[in-house]
């Protein structure tokens, strides 16, 4: 294996991993913090992608600038959904298991509603556009410029969020809730309000990831689900509620998958990611960075 091939694999893997990171962070906020298993996570990604697509093709908006629309809009939508649906489920459930199963059913319903809404609005036809579809040459290797851009933005947002969690008061409260829910409430952390914010942030991250990947892939109303699955793998790999863990796990998964693809074939992508997951679950059931 030559150095240039190694470089190629590493960067391609980090590109894939960067996108995984953002979508997984959103899910981790919901699942890690609240035990809300939101299987409609990928559907918010799909909606974000479609909104960017429509803004770009309809009004010529720069896909990157549409993040300023999809992010806040999705955050508000998440707040509303949390207030209308999830807050009730969370309030009524006594045990963590009950929250998981009820939120699972609820989000399955949401998944179908969102998919069919997209179907009515955008139809089932493949839709997409080209943005920055040019080769980017770095040290003798060639990478698609739009993928590099999407990954850089996704990673940047992920790291920014991580810093926010570490530094800001809200971030500290969220971490406190993740680590010790009852203790945090005792010192005055407002559980329902923070849950709403986290849910909104999770939805916003999915939608923003969607905006980014709309530059890379064709859209149908059914593109979301595979991302939910990948995000779940990353969240479990990195450890529930562990933000830094999710970040590293996403990058690791991206690199492992790419190595598999280069050394064998694209068919091995899913196999390699599940192999890593199984291995980690056997060796470290709480996840790579789980407590």
């Amino acid at each position: 294996m030559t150095a240039s091939l190694l470089f190629d694999i590493l960067v391609t893997g980090l590109i894939t991993g960067g996108i995984y990171a953002l979508v997984a962070l959103g899910l981790n906020l919901q699942y890690g913090l609240m035990r809300v298993l939101n299987v409609a996570h990928g559907e918010f990604l799909m909606l974000g992608a479609y909104v960017t697509y429509s803004l770009h093709t309809g009004w010529g908006a720069n896909p990157l600038l549409t993040l300023l629309v999809t992010g806040p809009a999705a955050f508000v939508a998440g707040l509303v959904l949390h207030r209308l649906l999830y807050a009730r489920v969370l309030a009524q459930a006594e045990a963590r298991e009950a929250i998981e199963s009820r939120s699972l059913l609820l989000s399955f319903g949401l998944l179908f509603v969102l998919q069919n809404t997209a179907l009515l609005v955008w139809s089932a036809d493949l839709q997409g556009y080209s943005y920055l579809a040019t080769p980017l040459r770095v040290l003798g290797a060639v990478f698609p410029a739009n993928r590099v851009l999407a990954a850089v933005v996704a990673l940047g947002l992920s790291i920014a969020f991580y810093v926010y969690l570490r530094r800001s008061l809200v971030g500290k409260a969220i971490r406190a809730l993740m680590e010790e829910s009852e203790g945090a409430q005792l010192v005055g952390v407002n559980l329902t309000r923070l849950h709403g914010i986290c849910f909104g942030l999770g939805v916003a991250m999915a939608a923003v990831t969607g905006s980014l990947i709309s530059m890379l892939f064709e859209l149908t109303p059914f593109v979301g689900l595979p991302y939910t699955v990948t995000a779940l793998v990353v969240v479990i790999l990195g450890g529930l509620g562990n933000v830094a863990g999710s970040l590293l796990a996403a990058l690791l998964l991206g690199v492992v998958e790419t190595v598999g693809v280069y050394l064998a074939s694209s068919d091995i992508r899913l196999i390699s990611s599940y192999a890593v997951l199984s291995l980690i679950l056997i060796l470290k059931p709480a996840g790579l960075f789980g407590r």
Binding site: D8, A133, A145, S265, D267
Partner: protein
């Protein structure tokens, strides 16, 4: 039910009207029912919506505008569809076809979209003795399975790949290409096409420098394309489905891979593909039809399709989907709704359709040869075989737009 009958009697004047009038009223009251499922949701919905659903809708509108479908000995009867969305689920489709033929006893059926779906439904149609003409099935296994009531109107893998290799062999002879990189989607369609390709490519003198398969729903083909580029492939040959086809083309540009010949399978012939890649000038793929072909009704079909749906039919299977309805129309006109007689007629007759003359032998269309098309200034020109060509091939392919 009772109210309906009363309304009906009122409408026909209590049976006092003459026999002719009553006959006509009957035609309005008892339409011919044709059943099918198509995928309006799920992964198959993209192809189903472009290739098949539009043709079904157009034909229905046209035939009812003429006063209905002419049935031998009965005059014209209006047509209605009995249909659901099969959600791209094979078991849903099979259940609904069971119901259509077993319980509802519809007059005729039309096929669902896609090779796998047709495979699943063909035995059911066969069991109930309903002729079914599949416009979106391409599989060599059909011949082995032999369902007498199933007819494949589209070119099968051997024909499609025969055209690819025939075309490449000529280019090889002219010294224009020599090294082929093959990528195929790892499902029934891709695997069968790949099998046919390797069989026909064997004695052409072309070298396969790399072969890579990938799963349906693949998200990154750049490693594959970079590999081909590094191996010096001057032919990209992708046995694709639509989403991966589009991914491959966008990434080929992104990793700066522009081989002199770029061939792909399902999706290339979609007008959407041309629009997506700013004309897709010089991109080639499996073809079967274009509006320039001198078949009776071809141009009219194209214009009616654009007028009704505000989108063009694709340049491979769309015309065959519509053509299969023309075939059924002619059969019903000549032998009525007796499905056994329709089958006998399908076995024995050469039909003229917008997709050209079609004759079935052992359930497979043996008239239409495999074809290669190439996007040139907005039209998917047929460039191979030469007898059917609507334009000469552009080699090498121009740079990606």
């Amino acid at each position: 039910m009772r109210i309906r009958r009363r309304d009906f009697l009122k409408a026909t004047g209590g049976g006092a009207a003459g026999a002719v009038l009553r006959g006509r009223a009957w035609a309005q009251a008892k339409p011919i029912r044709i059943g099918y499922t198509l995928s309006a949701t799920g992964p198959y919905s993209v192809g189903a919506g472009i290739t098949q659903g539009t043709g079904y809708a157009l034909w229905l509108e046209q035939v009812n505008a003429k006063g209905g479908l002419a049935v031998k000995g009965e005059g014209r009867r209006s047509v209605e569809y009995v249909t659901i969305d099969d959600r791209s689920e094979i078991e849903t489709a099979v259940r609904f076809y069971e119901k259509l033929m077993g319980d509802d006893k519809v007059d005729l059926i039309l096929p669902p979209w896609g090779t796998a779906m047709n495979f699943a439904v063909a035995p059911v149609a066969n069991k109930y003795g309903y002729p079914m003409i599949g416009p979106t099935v391409s599989s060599n296994k059909l011949k082995e399975l032999s369902f007498p009531y199933f007819y494949a109107i589209l070119q099968q893998p051997d024909a499609c790949m025969g055209a690819f290799t025939g075309f490449l062999k000529e280019l090889k002879g002219q010294g224009k290409v020599s090294k082929v990189g093959v990528a195929y989607v790892n499902d029934l369609f891709g695997i069968e096409m790949h099998g046919s390709l390797t069989a026909t490519l064997k004695d052409t003198g072309l070298e396969i420098v790399d072969t890579k398969s990938y799963p349906l729903g693949v998200k990154d083909l750049s490693p594959v394309l970079k590999g081909f580029k590094a191996a010096g492939a001057d032919v990209f040959l992708g046995l694709t489905y639509p989403p991966d086809n589009i991914l491959a083309a966008s990434q080929a540009k992104e990793v700066d891979f522009n081989p002199p010949v770029y061939l792909a399978a399902v999706g290339t012939a979609f007008p959407f593909y041309r629009d997506r890649f700013k004309g897709a000038e010089g991109v080639s793929g499996i073809a079967g039809w274009n509006p320039k072909m001198k078949y009776p009704g071809a141009r009219e079909y194209y214009e009616a399709h654009v007028k009704k749906h505000q989108k063009e039919p694709d340049r491979w299977a769309s015309a065959f989907a519509y053509g299969s309805l023309q075939i059924l129309e002619r059969c019903v006109g000549e032998v009525g709704l007796d499905r056994k007689k329709i089958k006998e007629m399908l076995d024995a007759t050469e039909f003229q359709t917008v997709a050209g003359p079609i004759k079935f032998a052992k359930g497979v269309n043996v008239t239409t040869p495999g074809m290669v098309g190439q996007w040139q200034k907005g039209e998917f020109e047929i460039i191979w075989p030469k007898a059917l060509a609507t334009a000469p091939a552009i080699i090498p392919k121009p740079a990606w737009a």
